[in-house]
């Protein structure tokens, strides 16, 4: 974790993170609540902003209205001045036109006053009523002056002007003056209150914006860390599990999905730990058993190897003497004895082969067989096999051909054992083929040698292919009787090939023939056992 985060988690904000984690609500609800909180703040900010704008607009309107009223008041003052002027003019000119001008101005005054009265705030109504009262006096006086002028009563008109109209006008002027003063005072106070409201709203909006950002950041931090902390815990825990350290537990304050997850993880950890322990015990038991088994197996193999060796000595003696007898070194063999002697020889050889095979297998299993790795010629191996089996093929009337590509270089491996392997496969092929042909071919591909024996023999059923390389296995016990063989050949071949680091395989179709092959490295070092 980055240092600032650690610092923040140590602060009261960290306590808040844990408090939020402890809230018994789902992650969805928490996220939604956080989102709604921030949205609510922004809505509130917008609402307050709108209210402020509205308030400012209202005050501006009031200011406009006051301004308008001031301008009307000024119009009234102007109309008043004009009336006085026109009245004086009319007294001089005494024409109907000049009289109409006075009347016109008076009506203009009335009209403007009516506008003002409608627009005036309640506290100014009384003042306007006083103006109105004075104006009604002025109206009557103006009418009287106008009528007096028309009646050529100049003295009356002049008197009315001086004694009635002028004082009334002065009164009106004073009233309008105080009205204007009141309106201007109002405008001034409105202006200052608008400016104050502007400052206030600016501060309020700034405060709201800062608060919204802070709350959004803090809320985001608190909510996200209330989720991240358990995830981190879980991550560490799972790393332990991945590294095989079971049985650990995690503690998270969360009472939401993460809390439930932590609980499940703890349960899983306990289960894993229990299973691990059980498995460990079982493995220990198995290992002991295995060791004992291996020991037993080795003992068996050693016994067999020793046994085979012990068996071979007398058997060799039997075979040797039989051969000497058949070679008539002890004198002529009577005709009736020759056949039993040949039988003894044949069966003795068979027995010897059997013993050799068992000996080989035992050696392999006991780990006592070692490959004699050296340079060998593939061509030579094939030639040896061909010459060994040529007569058998000829006897059975089978075609028997070999093919070795001339470009194959000298190979490395146990030539004797590989000869044994190929001999086994080819011998089997000839043995299990009544008619047709048996072919041997060799192929070099990318450092691997493949020896292949193809026959047109009886073939192997698919279900038996798997077992064919196991010890003492032939496809059918009846086959053993008909074709002979120990049933160990393929097994030994397989072991020898595998000791070379190669593999053995078969493709077969029942009644049509089989292809046995093994693949060994061109340069087997013998280290692969």
């Amino acid at each position: 974790m980055a240092p600032p985060v650690i610092a923040m988690l140590a602060s009261p904000l960290g306590a808040l993170v844990r408090a939020v984690a402890r809230i018994r609500a789902s992650v969805h609800v928490k996220l939604l609540a956080g989102f709604l909180l921030i949205t609510g703040l922004f809505i509130a900010m917008t609402a307050v902003g709108l209210l402020l704008v509205r308030e400012t607009a209202r005050q501006t309107d009031l200011l406009d209205q006051a301004h308008e009223r001031v301008s009307w008041s000024r119009q009234i003052e102007h109309a008043l001045a004009m009336q006085m002027h026109f009245t004086s003019m009319a007294l001089l000119a005494q024409s109907d036109g000049s009289v109409s001008l006075i009347l016109r101005e008076n009506n203009r005054f009335n009209d403007t006053l009516a506008r003002l009265e409608t627009a005036a705030p309640p506290e100014e109504r009384a003042l306007i009523q006083s103006i109105r009262g004075a104006q009604e006096d002025a109206m009557a006086t103006v009418a009287d002056i106008a009528n007096a002028l028309r009646d050529r009563r100049l003295a009356d008109a002049t008197t009315a002007l001086h004694t009635r109209l002028e004082p009334t006008y002065q009164k009106i002027e004073a009233l309008v003056g105080s009205l204007v003063a009141a309106e201007e005072a109002r405008m001034a106070s409105l202006r200052s209150s608008i400016s104050a409201a502007r400052t206030r709203s600016l501060r309020l909006m700034a405060g709201f914006a800062v608060a919204a950002v802070v709350v959004a950041l803090a809320g985001g931090f608190v909510i996200s860390w209330s989720f991240i902390l358990p995830v981190r815990e879980a991550h560490g825990f799972l790393s332990d599990v991945a590294e095989g350290r079971f049985g650990g537990t995690i503690v998270v304050p969360n009472r939401d999905e993460f809390g439930a997850l932590a609980e499940r993880m703890n349960w899983m950890s306990r289960e894993l730990h229990r299973l691990d322990e059980e498995q460990r015990v079982a493995a220990e038991t198995l290992r002991g058993l295995n060791e004992r088994l291996a020991l037993a197996s080795r003992a068996k193999s050693e016994f067999l190897a020793n046994m085979s060796h012990e068996l071979r000595t007398p058997l060799n003696a039997i075979l040797g003497f039989t051969e000497i007898m058949l070679d008539e070194l002890y004198g002529e063999v009577p005709a009736g004895l020759r056949e039993p002697l040949v039988d003894i020889q044949t069966n003795g050889r068979h027995l010897l082969r059997l013993i050799n095979d068992v000996l080989d297998l035992s050696k392999i299993e006991a780990g006592r067989l070692e490959l004699g790795v050296g340079e060998y010629s593939v061509q030579e191996i094939v030639d040896v096999v061909q010459s060994s089996l040529k007569s058998l093929a000829f006897e059975k009337g089978l075609a028997f051909n070999v093919s070795v590509p001339p470009e194959i270089p000298p190979a490395s491996g146990d030539g004797r054992r590989l000869t044994q392997c190929l001999l086994n496969l080819a011998g089997n092929a000839l043995k299990f083929t009544r008619q047709g042909r048996v072919d041997i071919d060799v192929e070099l591909d990318d450092g691997w040698l493949t020896y292949r024996v193809t026959d047109t023999g009886i073939g192997i059923p698919a279900e038996e292919v798997e077992n064919i390389f196991a010890e003492f296995r032939q496809v059918d016990t009846t086959i053993t009787k008909e074709y002979g063989g120990t049933g160990l050949g393929l097994s030994i071949t397989k072991r020898l090939v595998e000791m070379h680091g190669g593999r053995i395989g078969v493709q077969s179709e029942l009644g049509k023939g089989s292809t046995f092959f093994f693949t060994v490295p061109l340069r087997a070092d013998g280290g692969v056992a």
Binding site: V99, N106, R108, N110, D111, M139, A140, A146, N147, R150
Partner: protein, 235 residues
């Protein structure tokens, strides 16, 4: 005016009592019930725009120089008999009429007063009006009038007088000074009635401020009110 008329009525009653049935039949006056209608289509009259004193007068005024009902009846036309009968028992016209000036309009627009009668002009508006008329036979008048003041003007010679206001050009009023009682003003439907007429042949005259004067002869019977329709051509 009132007293001589009462005397005349009294005289008639005495005469009626003295001469019996014949006299009663003669003096049981007939009447004319009629309508003044417009012939042709009413001219399209534009509303009058008000440019001054809008707070009292409003923004515009309906043109009232010719008001025609949907049936064609003409309002505020004056109907009278050209040569009134010498001895008629007609009800005298009221000798005093009132005309108000409200929202810068004369109410009523047309008023009939008998010769020697008076009109009280009132100003109900909160501004100055200025009554102005220059009749032919009667003396002219030109008076400024503040709110609430009433100006009374007498009319001693029969004629039709146009009254205006110097301050509000659209204001029009008409005073019809009648020299005998057989004058009538049409109502909104253009209807009028002249009562107390002895049977006989008369010439009816009708005046309207825009359409001028027209006349028509009618015969009035004893009993039933004579129905008459006076047509005035649009122009």
């Amino acid at each position: 005016m009132l007293t001589p008329l009462r005397a005349l009525l009294l005289g008639s009653t005495i005469l009626l009592l003295a001469t019996g049935l014949t006299t009663a039949r003669e003096s049981s006056a007939g009447s004319i019930k009629g309508t003044v209608v417009l012939k042709g289509t009413a001219p399209e009259l534009k509303k009058l725009a008000v440019t001054i004193d809008q707070y009292v007068c409003g923004k515009e005024k309906n043109p009232e120089e010719l008001v025609v009902s949907p049936q064609g009846g003409i309002r505020s036309a004056v109907v009278w008999i050209e040569k009134p009968p010498a001895a008629a028992a007609a009800e005298a016209l009221p000798s005093t009429a009132a005309v108000d000036q409200k929202e810068c309009t004369f109410l009523p627009r047309v008023v009939i007063v008998p010769t020697g009668g008076k009109i009280d002009f009132l100003n109900s508006d909160r501004l100055l009006h200025n009554l102005h008329a220059t009749p032919n036979a009667n003396p002219p008048f030109n008076r400024t009038q503040p709110k609430g003041r009433t100006i009374t003007i007498s009319f001693s010679h029969p004629e039709i007088i146009r009254v205006t206001c110097d301050l509000h050009s659209w204001m029009r009023g008409w005073v019809v000074v009648a020299d005998h009682p057989f004058y009538a003003l049409t109502d909104g439907a253009g209807a009028f009635e002249l009562r107390g007429l002895p049977a006989g042949r008369y010439t009816l005259k009708v005046w309207q401020e825009r359409l001028g004067t027209t006349s028509k002869d009618v015969v009035v019977g004893d009993q039933e009110p004579t129905a008459v329709t006076l047509e005035m051509a649009a122009r």
